[in-house]
Symmetry: C2
Subunit: 325 residues, 2 copies
């Protein structure tokens, strides 16, 4: 088994290790390349002699370590149930006939076929088996060309993981890879939601945005910068001359988001004891540093979301007969 | 896209719909059969004419609905980061050489190859590509034959989902299937951890358990019941005559687990507002009914865990040269 029994017995803490303490030769990342693919399934190649020996770290099985693991699993169960509870029953999910196909029966999950999902490995996707969603298209079709997941990937492994995960190895590499995948999916979705934010803002004040877009495009053509997916940061660095970015930036709103996210992290990240509600607030113990997620929002998530908004708006005026409004 | 914009705009609530309100013809479940496989990937069959038309429900895009979705996504991001934070950095996860194989490079996730993971579709697993974990085996080898996931599946779809999910369809069938998968994995892991609980208890008082096991096996042979994986409930029903089950049952501990789980659900499931910490406790709004998870633990998770413990212990004395102690 994976070494969860041992890892679960380590006490929760909000003391996090900084990236500078990490030795990670594989972290030479560029914005358009990805390091260490998280996982690949269905590979049938044979093991080579280079494969490292893997040790079952749970040899010292104790009732205490099992209990710690069971208590930690309560949180995972609650988190997963809370995630499920945000959706309706959705009978089609379970209806073998809902998306039935010749030669196949069963409900299907089709990731990356909807416009709020963005693949990290777009060249390595399975064939689509779900019927495509019906129009109307709510975003300008150019939205489909914007995918800054290389930056999301880099941000996560280079800037978040070193602050989030303790240094070392507890043997849970499978669970680690699955958690990484869930984190990357959630971060990527949030950041690319900038397309919808931008479309809403554009529709609210089309005149202001059209003027700003034309000014920005003109400025970029003068300095010979062309908008290319994944290079929005170059635009971001020109913010002082960027009317478009200034239209999209609301410092007070961003501060309130950071404040709310920190409060949520304090709430969801606290270690609940049997007598939790009798403790004073000062006694709270947190699984991660409460300000960590707020910092991630302020330093990465919101700037990258605005980068997506800029990239979308810069091409929002491209002529296309099928655009949303 | 999936209809998250609409669904996210619905207010959180702990009012849940009861299963009796559901019309679900596909819910004729037996303990050893599974209804509606959650999803199958990599199917290349063509769509038939029976496929239902799928509608993009996000047509009425509004900034409010986008904002609601972004706020809800904060929770998903925090939950996923909290899950990741329980593990160390685990460099092997990202080391292309860690589990390298001839003709393949890249880190791998191998589900259901460790003894704390149990497949729901054991006949439909990909080939193992990870090196097998090294001994020592901490459980009696008979543990590998115990898998009550058919009951976990039935419990989840028949007893949990009707109380957890609102009736109706918000169009998010892909996200629903993925959330169901995460819930089933978490529940299955917790319930099958009974094997480790039982092994710990056995090692703590081998004489008491050996006597109880022999008495139970003798009793079952007298009434011609043989222990078969998945049929533990039959044993459970005989609890009044079951010394083994009574050895495993601690009513006070079970009550404290339910109490702790309810407190955790109140904490993790509360809707955090910007002024959350200024509110009185009475003003809290919960995403799900706080007592729901406690009831699930009391009615299903703990009984099924004890069922796993009984099934394990009934065969704990089987002769096997490689057993744990």
């Amino acid at each position: 088994m994976e070494a969860k029994l041992l890892s679960a017995s380590s006490p929760p803490s909000f003391v996090v290790h900084m990236g500078t303490k990490f030795s990670r030769s594989s972290f030479v990342l560029t914005s358009l390349t990805r390091e260490f693919p998280v996982f690949k399934l269905h590979c049938s190649a044979g093991l080579s002699k280079k494969a490292k020996k893997r040790v079952d770290a749970s040899e010292n099985l104790t009732l205490k370590s099992v209990r710690c693991s069971l208590i930690r699993q309560e949180d995972s169960i609650i988190f997963s149930l809370l995630e499920r509870a945000q959706y309706c029953y959705n009978e089609n999910t379970y209806d073998p006939e809902a998306f039935s196909m010749d030669g196949f029966h069963g409900s299907l999950v089709g990731r990356y076929t909807s416009s709020d999902e963005h693949p990290f490995f777009p060249d390595d996707l399975p064939n689509h088996v779900l019927p495509h969603l019906e129009n109307p298209q709510v975003l300008h079709p150019i939205a489909d060309t914007i995918n800054i997941n290389p930056k999301v990937w880099q941000m996560y492994f280079k800037n978040i993981i070193p602050k989030l995960a303790k240094e070392g190895d507890d043997g849970n590499c499978r669970s680690t890879a699955i958690c990484d995948t869930m984190c990357l999916q959630a971060l990527s979705k949030r950041i690319h939601y900038g397309k919808y934010v931008a479309e809403c803002k554009y529709r609210a004040s089309p005149d202001d945005y059209e003027a700003a877009i034309r000014e920005q495009v003109l400025f970029m053509s003068c300095i010979q910068i062309k908008p290319v997916a994944g290079y929005g940061l170059m635009i971001n660095n020109l913010q002082d001359r960027d009317r478009l970015m200034s239209l999209l930036t609301y410092p007070l709103v961003e501060e309130s988001v950071k404040k709310r996210v920190e409060m949520k992290t304090m709430t969801y990240g606290q270690v609940v004891k049997d007598d939790a509600f009798k403790d004073e607030e000062g006694d709270s113990v947190y699984k991660i540093k409460p300000s960590l997620v707020a910092d991630i929002y302020g330093d990465w998530i919101m700037p990258l979301t605005k980068e997506v908004q800029v990239e979308y708006l810069l091409r929002r005026l491209d002529l296309d007969g099928s655009q949303g409004n």
